[in-house]
Symmetry: C2
Subunit: 201 residues, 2 copies
DNA sequence: CTTCCGACTACACGCTTGTGCAGTAACCTA
DNA sequence: TAGGTTACTGCACAAGCGTGTAGTCGGAAG
């Protein structure tokens, strides 16, 4: 399928695949080299070190994603996600959770965009900072919890059809309130009581 | 603080702490032993292997959580989370993501409880299976993405005050629709077009 | 043809990992 | 006091890790 690519490109693709699947530490340079059908030495020749390879993957994934959708961080519009784009996002998020500076920068951009979006709405939000952050991590969770979701739906969420089910579900989730105003009020009161007791102690 | 506990208990606590923090593979038996102030051999003596230790932690975390709140999977009510309970949940979710059967069982219970809850509401949901799964992983994301959240809020979310900010935010999120009916309709149409094109090809 | 340089491989090094195991100290039972 | 089980330590082992490095191959430049 991709055997006509440069060896360097094959290594990069293999790394993104395995890093996304098993995490940065979980994927060994030997595994990646074998997946790319090269020696592990060549990996080192091209990228210097495992960390160098990871940096290259970060940069490449980010540039590819921004190329595809100018402001890619806006996966408010969750559609148009081909399996390939999905994989790139999954890799970048995984790398972010494993402490990548590139990923952290991406997360900051997501937050910035979230604030921007919040300004266009009429939502009542007590703490915009927290609100935007929570929404952001919740969106990301669709990628980080891929295995669990696939298990629950009985089908790999990378499949476009299954992915569409999840998009439909998020749409249902974001287009209507999950709890009644009474429940909200009640919960908020309980929360206030909690924080008040906290400050008193 | 916990130095009056049995060595076995100290090992278990240290394991839960480090497993939750660095992941199952990321925490070594030597690290855990050192944290518990025992030799690595004793760890093996009490739990047989690292996998055995992890199983013991799974079981213990689950029983502790169910003991504290009979049906603990209902963190619909996200309050009442002391740092200790928070850590147990974080451990269990982490272990789940790393392929623990106990964790998977917990996730299944969360789904079951989600369906149960969905029955009591008047929500319009096209695909209950997907809806419940998405809600479940989004709730869990508050634990899995702890570091990212702490960075965004500028304060460790384990702090009760910071945690309260997040609960407030999720309340704001779940008590009102994020997108207008028109936007929802539009997105749904786009999604239908997408799936239709998918089945045609 | 020679020279050179990047692509590429094979192999070995030092380190860390989980595990195995012999040996010691403490404690209960008879 | 003697004996056996349990708690506990220290060390050694094989395997796997990322990395270093000497060396082969092939094509472009002179």
């Amino acid at each position: 399928m991709s055997s006509d690519l440069t060896a360097r490109a094959r290594i990069r693709d293999a790394a993104i695949e395995l890093f996304a699947e098993r995490g940065i530490d979980g994927a060994t340079v030997r595994d990646i080299a074998q997946q790319a059908d090269v020696s592990s030495g060549l990996l080192r020749h091209h990228f210097g070190s495992k960390e160098g390879l990871r940096d290259a993957c970060d940069e490449w994934a980010l540039s590819e994603l921004t190329k595809i959708s100018g402001q890619f961080t806006e996966f408010n519009t969750l559609d148009g996600l081909t399996p390939r784009v999905q994989q790139l996002q999954r890799y970048l998020i995984r790398s972010t959770m494993d402490g990548s500076p590139t990923g952290a920068a991406m997360f900051d951009r997501m937050l910035e965009f979230g604030h921007q979006w919040l300004g266009t709405t009429e939502l009542k939000v007590a703490d915009p900072e927290a609100f935007v952050a929570v929404v952001a991590v919740m969106k990301m969770s669709l990628f980080t919890m891929r295995d669990l979701l696939s298990r629950a739906l009985g089908s790999d969420v990378t499949e476009p059809v299954t992915w569409a089910r999840m998009l439909q579900a998020t749409l249902d989730l974001f287009s209507q309130p999950l709890i009644t105003p009474e429940q909200a009020l009640q919960a908020r009161a309980a929360l206030d009581r909690l924080t008040a007791g906290e400050e008193a102690s």
